[in-house]
């Protein structure tokens, strides 16, 4: 494939798949076939894109051939390309999982078009090099995810949708206003031109503008204290969609913080980075404490999304090449692990019929392989060596210690212990203790696609854990190309 097509492939392929699946509205079998073909094409294109970007540094495209800095541009560097690939991987895993009978939701005919719409929005945000265009991709994501929340039509889903919508709408409006004010101050929207114009801005104005922009992104990322929309809504979703959202949506917010503060507006104001570090610590702590209260597997894991966002933000707040390396490494590892945990939670639901830990049990005796499958991402989330989470946390904490950030390091280590408590709670209750009703009731249904998806994701976690040097070298190269 020629390069120009490759640059827009991460957006064009999901968008066309969304259109085609919407067209096949009345024929579920055809719709599923189109959806799987589309996501596989997306995956192949993402692999091709990553290879070209790794060889050339970055790929760019000016739409309509307007000269820079006018017109809308896509610019995909190593960071963007790796995140596009992980988006495609998560899309594939979720859509394969959707073929199983483990909590697939209502299988509404609009589910598949909306899922592909979300994929397009996510990868569009990773590719674009234009601030207003970024806002548009955020809106694409928001509208498609609202649709996925609401099509279940259960009353708790509608309730969750409202809270998700109201808080996210405030976030996008804040984003829109900050984009407008940044344009008014600099006269540019293209990242490269913004980067140059930033140097001429008065420091006070730059701090105010960047604070507004970062606040909007942090709201999307689910950082303290703006994460209330996430645990209020996520657990109402069907499992494959939930895994997709948990893996990708908040990470887009984190990526945009990294892109703006680490690459475009550099050097970022020191005060803002200091504040970001403390926000990261508060996010870690509140997230993990929220998780400790809950007994529903999905709600425990939803709070852990918030907690882990704290670690990723901490890497950005350290504001060095090593910090950004750690952030990218952590993000890539975390997307896989988090989505996998939600999917395994759905398999637990499939065998036991409940997500509440007080109603389940006895799975280690009945399904020992599932127990092993759960332990891989669970211990990786905690950061037990040699799994991927250990290396991710090691990279963040190594840099935090190198900068003498004792308070941040201690907080991060304590949060790891509490994360271990949460994961062991799930382990003891769901797998180790006997089932409250004596034995598991037999279940009918197709489950092999669920195992296929989760085993593959666990394989990726193991690969990152046992051979971290490949991903680490890649993340270092990606951070080195940032405009520090």
């Amino acid at each position: 494939m020629s390069h120009p097509a490759l640059v827009i492939a991460p957006v064009i392929i999901p968008l066309s798949t969304a259109m085609l699946t919407a067209w096949a509205y009345r024929r579920p079998a055809l719709q599923t076939a189109i959806s799987l073909a589309g996501v596989l094409a997306f995956l192949l294109a993402a692999i091709g894109l990553l290879q070209s970007v790794d060889a050339q540094g970055h790929l760019a495209m000016q739409f309509g051939n307007w000269e820079k800095p006018f017109g809308i541009a896509f610019l995909i560097d190593r960071t963007g390309a790796s995140l596009v690939l992980i988006t495609a991987l998560m899309g594939t895993a979720s859509l394969v999982f959707l073929l199983s009978d483990a909590d697939p939701g209502s299988r509404h005919p609009l589910t598949l078009p909306l899922v592909h719409g979300v994929l397009a929005g996510v990868s569009g945000s990773f590719c674009t090099a234009d601030l207003f265009n970024l806002y548009v991709w955020f809106e694409v994501m928001l509208i498609c995810s609202l649709g996925l929340f609401a099509i279940g039509r259960r009353i708790d889903q509608l309730d969750g949708t409202f809270k998700y919508m109201a808080l996210n709408l405030v976030g996008t409006l804040l984003l829109l206003m900050s984009v407008g004010m940044i344009y008014a101050a600099t006269g540019h929207l293209y990242f490269g031109a913004l980067s140059e114009a930033y140097a001429t801005l008065p420091p006070g104005l730059a701090l105010a503008l960047l604070t507004a922009l970062t606040l909007a992104f942090l709201m999307k990322a689910g950082a303290f204290p703006l994460f209330a929309w996430l645990p209020a809504a996520y657990h109402t979703l069907p499992a494959p969609v939930l895994a997709l959202f948990a893996g990708l949506l908040t990470k887009v917010g984190v990526y945009t913080v990294l892109r703006t503060l680490g690459d475009v507006f550099t050097p970022a104001p020191g005060l803002l980075m200091e504040a970001l570090g403390w926000i990261a610590v508060a996010t870690m702590v509140t997230g993990v404490l929220g998780a400790a209260y809950h007994w529903d597997i999905r709600r425990i894991l939803a709070f852990h999304i918030v907690s882990q966002i704290g670690y990723i933000l901490l890497g950005i707040a350290l504001n060095t090449e090593a910090g950004f390396t750690a952030t990218l490494f952590y993000t890539l590892h975390h997307i896989v692990v988090k989505a996998n945990l939600f999917l395994i939670g759905a398999i637990v639901w499939f065998w036991t019929g409940s997500y509440d830990l007080r109603r389940v049990g006895g799975l280690y005796a009945a399904r020992p392989l599932l127990a092993v499958l759960f332990l891989i991402p669970a211990l990786s989330l905690v950061g037990i060596p040699p799994l991927s989470g250990f290396w991710a946390k090691f990279l963040v904490l190594q840099e935090a210690i190198a900068q003498g950030r004792v308070a941040w390091t201690v907080a991060a280590l304590l949060v790891s212990v509490l994360t271990l408590y949460s994961m062991m709670k799930i382990w003891m209750e769901a797998f180790w203790k006997p089932h409250p009703e004596g034995a598991l009731a037999p279940v009918q249904g197709r489950i092999w696609p669920a195992y296929l998806a989760t085993t593959s994701l666990a394989g990726i976690t193991l690969w990152i854990g046992l051979a971290p040097q490949h991903l680490l070298a890649f993340a270092q190269a990606a951070a080195r190309s940032f405009n520090l």
């Binding site: 809106e139 009353i155 949708t161 407008g180 004010m181 344009y183 007994w295």
Partner: protein
């Protein structure tokens, strides 16, 4: 003129935020719509205010002088369309919620997050919510 517009934006945003903070579902959504209008006004102000000349290059010339900045108008148009779609969605959503729950008070909407039982552990889900039929 700029100050007048700035004052208008301030009034619009304050009105919108006040309504958004309301416990009433419909007021909350209307407040978000008004905040959206405030954001659109702000975007409009980001170009130069003053010139009313259309940004069209006359035949034979290459450079425009004294024309309005067309970019904010394109941005505002995009934002208006997106805002309109979201507003339609949220109004339908709120109407459906009011219809199903017979209340427009946000504090009564605890369906996704049921309030705690004994204060130490969250309440057990109802058997109906756990049932396979309810989730498929």
């Amino acid at each position: 003129m700029t100050w007048l517009l700035a004052l208008t934006i301030w009034v619009t945003l304050s009105t919108g935020l006040y309504l958004t903070l309301s416990r009433d579902l419909l007021r909350c959504v209307l407040g978000l719509a008004i905040v959206g209008s405030g954001a659109n006004l702000l975007l409009f102000l980001t170009g130069r205010i003053g010139s009313g000349q259309p940004p069209v290059v006359p035949l034979g010339e290459t450079v425009l002088s004294q024309a309005a900045n067309p970019l904010p108008q394109a941005l505002v148009l995009t934002a208006i369309v997106i805002g309109f779609a979201l507003m339609c969605f949220s109004l339908v959503l709120v109407l459906r919620l009011i219809e199903r729950q017979r209340t427009d008070d946000v504090l009564d909407l605890r369906l996704a997050e049921p309030p705690g039982g004994d204060g130490v552990k969250p309440p057990l889900p109802t058997p109906a919510a756990d049932a396979r039929e309810a989730r498929t």
